[in-house]
């Protein structure tokens, strides 16, 4: 990576629920991008539960994000680790370092700035489960945010919660008016006394306080464009669930969600996970490997799949 790269994309992989395949997708995206001659960095941003190195088949790194956060003399480049893939580097997450899961605000800003300054074409952030403010902020600074979902009630519920939390966090960060902030905070709870159910209700409500702010927020709503990937797909019905979620998000949240694709629940996937080797690494042409490539392609080109 001798040359300085100007154009870069930060891609965040989240999803709310644990065990849905975030690290699986992140590691494979990294491999696919690297194989296409894009210098890329995978950042294990699952502070407190990091295991991206395992997905890539490398031993627990000796330097991790926690070293960077705690040692002000270190640069983020100093904690980069090589992977079996030539163009792919890894920044490992904090293993079991108590406290780092909740870094101080100043530490967080330093981390975010350094991530943005990394010299790579693509930076992939593998986020942890849940909707902590850290996770939401990582998701929001990314150029493209991807949610990994499996066609099961809990995963879908968590994905919606994640979308709502990220969206409200974004709206709150955008508004300066204390009154507006208060309304947004109240709207977060499902049974608020303002009668606000959906983000669209919220913006309608804010329009009564301040028309300009409500337009600003509406604009932000239109620009908020999370991507979804459906993992562990078994039936055609499962795939339809992806389109149905897209449809529901449009109506309920008022946002456009791109459905990047789905990954079949085939045997090759779990074999690759057991082998601790990304399925896309060694010319695998199974259905799921091909699906992953389609997902990467759609992600980079702002495309999505359509119902047949």
């Amino acid at each position: 990576m001798g040359q300085l790269i100007n154009k870069k994309d930060i891609i965040a992989i989240g999803g709310g629920k644990g065990g849905v395949g975030k690290s699986f997708l992140a590691s494979n995206l990294g491999v696919i991008l690297a194989k296409n001659n894009n210098p890329s960095v995978l950042v294990d941003a699952d502070l407190g539960g990091a295991n991206l190195h395992t997905c890539l088949g490398i031993p627990t790194p000796t330097v991790t994000l926690s070293d960077f956060v705690n040692d002000s003399s270190l640069k983020l480049e100093d904690v980069l680790v090589r992977t079996p893939e030539k163009n792919l580097m890894l920044i490992s997450g904090a293993q079991d370092f108590l406290g780092i899961a909740n870094p101080k605000y100043s530490q967080k800003i330093k981390l975010l700035r350094s991530i943005q300054a990394l010299n790579a074409s693509y930076i992939i952030l593998d986020l942890g489960a849940g909707t902590s403010l850290n996770t939401l902020d990582f998701f929001l600074i990314a150029d493209k945010g991807v949610l990994v979902i499996i066609p099961e009630p809990t995963s879908i519920e968590n994905a919606y919660r994640f979308i709502k939390s990220a969206l409200y966090r974004k709206l709150k960060l955008l508004s300066t008016d204390v009154k507006v902030k208060e309304v947004i905070e109240k709207a977060m709870t499902k049974k608020n006394d303002l009668g606000i159910g959906t983000p669209l209700d919220l913006i309608d409500y804010i329009a009564k306080i301040d028309k300009d702010v409500s337009e600003l927020l509406f604009d932000a709503l239109n620009k908020f464009r999370p991507r979804i990937v459906l993992n562990q797909v078994r039936t055609v019905q499962d795939i339809r669930t992806g389109f149905a979620m897209q449809n529901a998000c449009q109506r309920y949240f008022g946002i456009k969600v791109d459905f990047l694709g789905y990954i079949e629940n085939d045997e090759q996937v779990w074999q690759s996970i057991r082998k601790r080797q990304p399925i896309t690494q060694n010319g695998n042409y199974s259905k799921s490997a091909r699906s992953l490539r389609t997902i990467a392609y759609n992600l980079l080109n702002d495309l999505e799949i359509r119902p047949e």
Partner: protein, 241 residues
Amino acid sequence: MVTKSVKSQDYYEMLGISRSANQEDIRKAYEICKHTYQDDSLATYSLYSEDENRQLFILITEAYEILIDPSSRKEYDSYLSRKEGRTRETTGEGERMVASMIGVNSQMREESRAASNEPPTGDKLAPTPAIEAKVKPAQAPELAKESAARVENFIESVEEFTGQVLKKVREFRGISLEDLADITKIRKAYLVYLEEENFKFLPAPVYIKGFVANVATTLELPAKQVADDYMQRYNAGQEEI
């Protein structure tokens, strides 16, 4: 841009399609909506209550039924362009929502009423008033008796009530699709899909079950058994990849 809740959306927006969508686009969009708002839908149960879901689905079905039919779509399009020609005046949304629960094309009825201040009559697209059952007693009594026995024999021999069986019984009883549509108040197209078991184009299962029971009762068949058989076939059809 203006915030648009479902209540202020036009039929195209409700289905999430462009004004230039073709029949296939409309069908596909409705397919997805069915999957989105059917009972127990994974995609919506945590966002909407059952009632909200049902109401949304009724509104969307209304949009679909108007747009899928070329002649009613044409009429709706010209209504839309008339409406957009006028200065945008919004009508009582809540009122419209209620109106839409009562019958098809409330959107037009409501708007034209608001525009002309007239009671909602004379609308071409409004559902036709109830027509008396038109089961034809056309055959001579003797013949009718004989054929009635044949029908009963046939029904007794049926092991599973399929779409094809429904069609056969309907024909035995001398009821045309148009008559059946009049009696059951189910769109003719749906009746055809029911008989063909063309599940793809039918609405959510809860509606299909209602349709089948309704048709069965009209054809003097055991409604529950028919509906159970039919839904079993429907479910089997859904599992195929």
